[in-house]
Amino acid sequence: MSQVTVGEVETVLTNKLHLQEPIFKLEPAGSKVSGSVISLSFRGLTDSERQQRLWDALDAEYGPESVHRVGSLLAFTPDEWNIDED
């Protein structure tokens, strides 16, 4: 089983979800890629809905191997990520 790179995961998520202005804070964690995804596209969605979309995209790309290639992903809107900046 080949490992995926941070760049590959970013490309898959950006393209399959058509993410608006995405910012990725991903890093390798063991054999997986984990981290946070920030995009306006998550606005108005609950966290379970965001996770469903993320994993539908990853499952479509990697099939049953997705769970072995990608770890935890948190999905933020820009407002949620920058909440303490105002």
Binding site: A29, S34, S36, T46, D47, S48, Q51, Q52, W55, V67, G71, S72, L73, L74, F76, E80, W81, I83, D84
Partner: protein, 161 residues
């Protein structure tokens, strides 16, 4: 018996609590998708607890120095109070959603959930009015997951400050 060196090397710390919280909420979602609601609720709540602990560890020097214990039991409301007492939350009600999410989780989650059957969790939530006519255990667990995710994400943002 663990010596001091072993204790220090196995101490959680901010990064340990954060990584654990992220893993637990990830696993909780996988179980939610598989309709394994008891396990999902337990792991999501544990993730919320870990995230609150990470914030306290990062921001309380006395905890880092071992002068004060992080051992608040598993009382999420007490953890929230400690976060608030450190002055980390925004004024003017701008962190009300976070506080409300912690209260939601604290009302439904209990440490001994780790021993409980899914049926007993559902019964307990029914007794609490969370599961009721036209509001299924699946819906309640999904909303519980969402509340835990709100807590964990706010704590992540606080740890990035």
């Amino acid at each position: 018996m663990a010596d001091e060196t072993t204790k220090k090397s196995t101490a959680m710390g901010e990064s340990g609590y954060r990584a654990g919280a992220r893993d637990r909420i990830d696993e909780a979602f996988r179980l939610l998708r598989a309709e394994q609601f008891g396990g999902s609720a337990y792991l999501a709540g544990r993730g919320a607890e870990g995230a609150l602990r990470a914030v306290l560890w990062k921001n309380d020097v006395e905890i880092q120095q071992g002068k004060k214990s992080l051992d608040t039991g598993h009382d999420l409301r007490a953890l929230l109070a400690n976060v608030r007492n450190l002055g980390l939350l925004r004024a003017g009600g701008r962190d009300d959603a976070f506080a409300t999410a912690v209260q939601h989780v604290a009302r439904l989650w209990y440490n001994n959930m780790r021993f409980a059957s899914t049926e007993s969790v559902e019964k307990k939530w029914f007794m609490l009015g969370e599961v009721r006519k036209n509001h299924t255990f699946k819906q309640a667990t999904t909303e519980f997951y969402d509340a835990c995710a709100v807590v964990i994400k706010r704590c992540e943002a606080l740890c990035h400050k």
